[in-house]
């Protein structure tokens, strides 16, 4: 379905769509450099709010907690999610497969209030204190399903003969997985980790349910501030957040492209 020139319709649909997506973000970034305290009045360029932000210990603390939860949960989710994907694609039929795939797909669309509430009630029932670890476990559970779906699509599309060849030559299954399968699916595994990481950084609802005041994440902090009204310091946090995420996404995609090119 391609044309070698961009038609008027194609061009305007793309321009409108992308403008809709990006204009609000650009406005947010521009206003983080506003000298005025009023978010709606332009008072000239300034990096005042970034300085203010650096001095804000609570914000820095929250950012650190969020990053730690993100790395821990994304790593756990990548291992569990990859295993789940292998089970779904390679294990054929097994007892309870339908329930298993149901459990994998449900969190992708399940409203966050339900997931958050149910995990919290379980932690209370079992008697686990809420905090860093409960949020990490909650995020691991939700994001492992995202990883499973991404890795699954890669496993489905790759040439099984490569694995069969290794097995025929007497390579044990576990080693075949590590030396043949994993190198071939790793762009999907990396993409899964990254998506899990950003979803964890992003989450407000599930974290609100499963955390305690001792382990405030950045979204919870930002949300509390936003309720008090728009302020330029929040614009500054958001800008830094966007910059970090955007550079990770671009880096991974460039890396992935290079690896794919080498594999081809």
């Amino acid at each position: 379905m391609q044309d070698n020139r961009l038609g008027a319709f194609t061009l305007s649909a793309l321009a409108l769509g992308l403008a809709f997506l990006y204009v609000p973000i650009v406005i947010l970034i521009v206003y983080s450099f506003n000298a005025s305290r009023l978010v709606t009045v332009w008072g000239g360029w300034s990096t005042h709010w970034y300085g203010e932000l650096l001095a804000d210990g609570a914000m820095r603390e929250a950012a650190l907690v969020t990053l730690r939860i993100g790395v821990a949960s994304a790593s756990g989710a990548t291992i569990l999610g990859t295993a789940a994907a292998v089970a779904l694609v390679r294990a054929g039929r097994f007892r309870g497969r339908l329930l298993f795939s149901g459990l994998v797909y449900a969190p992708l669309v399940m409203p966050e209030v339900i997931t958050g509430l149910s995990l919290l009630l379980m932690f209370v029932a079992v008697g686990i204190d809420r905090g860093f670890w409960t949020v990490t476990l909650a995020h691991t559970t939700v994001t492992m399903c995202v990883v499973a779906v991404i890795v699954q699509s890669r496993l489905v599309s790759f040439d099984r003969n490569l694995e069969e060849a290794a097995l025929d030559l007497g390579c044990p299954p576990a080693r075949t997985f590590l030396t043949v399968t994993l190198p071939l699916i790793w762009p999907a595994v990396a993409a899964g980790w990254m998506l899990a990481f950003t979803l964890s950084l992003d989450d407000l609802v599930i974290a609100s349910f499963t955390t305690s005041p001792g382990a405030m994440t950045l979204p919870i902090r930002i949300y509390a501030e936003v309720h008090r009204g728009v302020n330029p310091e929040i614009n500054a946090v958001c800008t830094i957040f966007i910059a970090i995420i955007a550079s990770i996404v671009v880096a991974v995609s460039v890396l992935g492209k290079r690896l794919n090119a080498r594999a081809a």
């Binding site: 044309d3 649909a13 054929g92 298993f100 149901g102 379980m122 609802v205 955007a246």
Partner: protein, 311 residues
């Protein structure tokens, strides 16, 4: 189905590693997804009490059969009766379904042209376009909703521009209205709709359109009779991927909506965090899940058929 054929009867011969690959994630999901769900069900049948944790009866498995019988006798459906008789609750379910349906339709109408244009763009551009659509999807939900607050507020940019252009004489109210909620939802879920649509449109065989054109079919008719029916899997996946989470949406109506846009996610949040009524919040979660179970099963079915998502 993705299950490789020719693997029938492999249960006994399945290597240890593969058995672990099934067992560990299965156990994990059973503990952190299935078990919590059963606990919600149990608490939804209890009553609010001013204690820690705030509900009765409490389940004590070590207390013997008699105590267990007493526990079951104390469970009741009262919370569910309340949900269906108190207008605060059933009204927010209806509002949520209405908002989710309308915004899914808007998303479909807005997302289809963009996905179609992406699929028709030159090959070398498609990678970049895909990246540009995916990028906001990685940027925080909260940040993207926040971005709209300063645009939509009373002295915000939208009113400033409309006043400057002379379209409005006095500033209009945008924030705290249904319009603001729809804008926020369509904005936040846009990539979720465009990506599955693009995935099916991109795979469509260009020669089908050419064949229709050769046979004298006008372009709009080709689009309607060939392109759209063939893109059905993308339409189904995209719509469900948006509709289901929107019904339970909390952040967007909370930050952009007014008091009359009370969606079920907000009502549940308030019951839980402000009224500390865990049993009624649990019952609300159960009813919400029952409403969504149909769409969720449909989604799971569609996805395992497509075998992939977002790639």
């Amino acid at each position: 189905m993705n299950v490789a054929t020719g693997e029938e009867g492999g249960t006994q011969r399945r290597p240890l590693g593969l058995r672990m690959a099934i067992l560990i994630p299965y156990l994990w999901l059973a503990i952190f997804l299935l078990l919590p769900f059963l606990i919600v069900l149990k608490i939804s049948l209890s009553q609010y009490a001013d204690q820690q944790p705030p509900y009765v009866p409490e389940l004590d498995l070590g207390a013997g059969i008699a105590a267990l019988k007493e526990f079951f006798a104390a469970l009741s459906l009262d919370n569910y009766v309340t949900l269906f008789t108190d207008s605060l609750y059933y009204w927010s379910y209806l509002r949520s379904l209405e908002i989710a349906t309308v915004s899914t339709l808007i998303l479909l109408l807005a997302g289809y042209p963009v996905a179609y244009a992406m699929a028709r763009a030159p090959r070398r551009l498609q990678g970049v376009l895909l990246m540009l659509i995916i990028l906001p999807f990685f940027t925080s939900f909260l940040i993207r909703v926040y971005a709209w607050i300063s645009i939509l507020q009373h002295d915000g940019l939208l009113n400033q521009i409309l006043l400057a252009l002379g379209i409005l004489r006095t500033p209009a109210t945008w924030i705290s209205t249904d319009t603001a909620v729809y804008i926020g939802i369509v904005y936040s879920y846009f990539p979720f709709m465009v990506l599955p649509l693009y995935a099916t449109l991109e795979k469509q065989d260009a020669t089908l359109g050419e064949a229709a054109a050769d046979l004298g079919c006008p372009p709009w008719k080709t689009f309607w009779l060939v392109t759209v029916p063939l893109s059905r899997p993308g339409v189904v996946a995209g719509s469900l991927l948006c509709f289901i989470p929107i019904v339970g949406e909390y952040v967007i109506p909370d930050l952009l909506g007014g008091s009359e846009t009370q969606m079920i996610g907000q009502t549940l949040w308030n019951e839980f965090f402000h009224n500390i009524d865990w049993p009624i919040a649990s019952a609300m979660a159960m009813v919400l899940l029952c409403l969504l179970v149909g769409p969720i099963v449909l989604f799971q079915h569609a996805e395992s058929r497509r075998g992939h998502l977002m790639t």
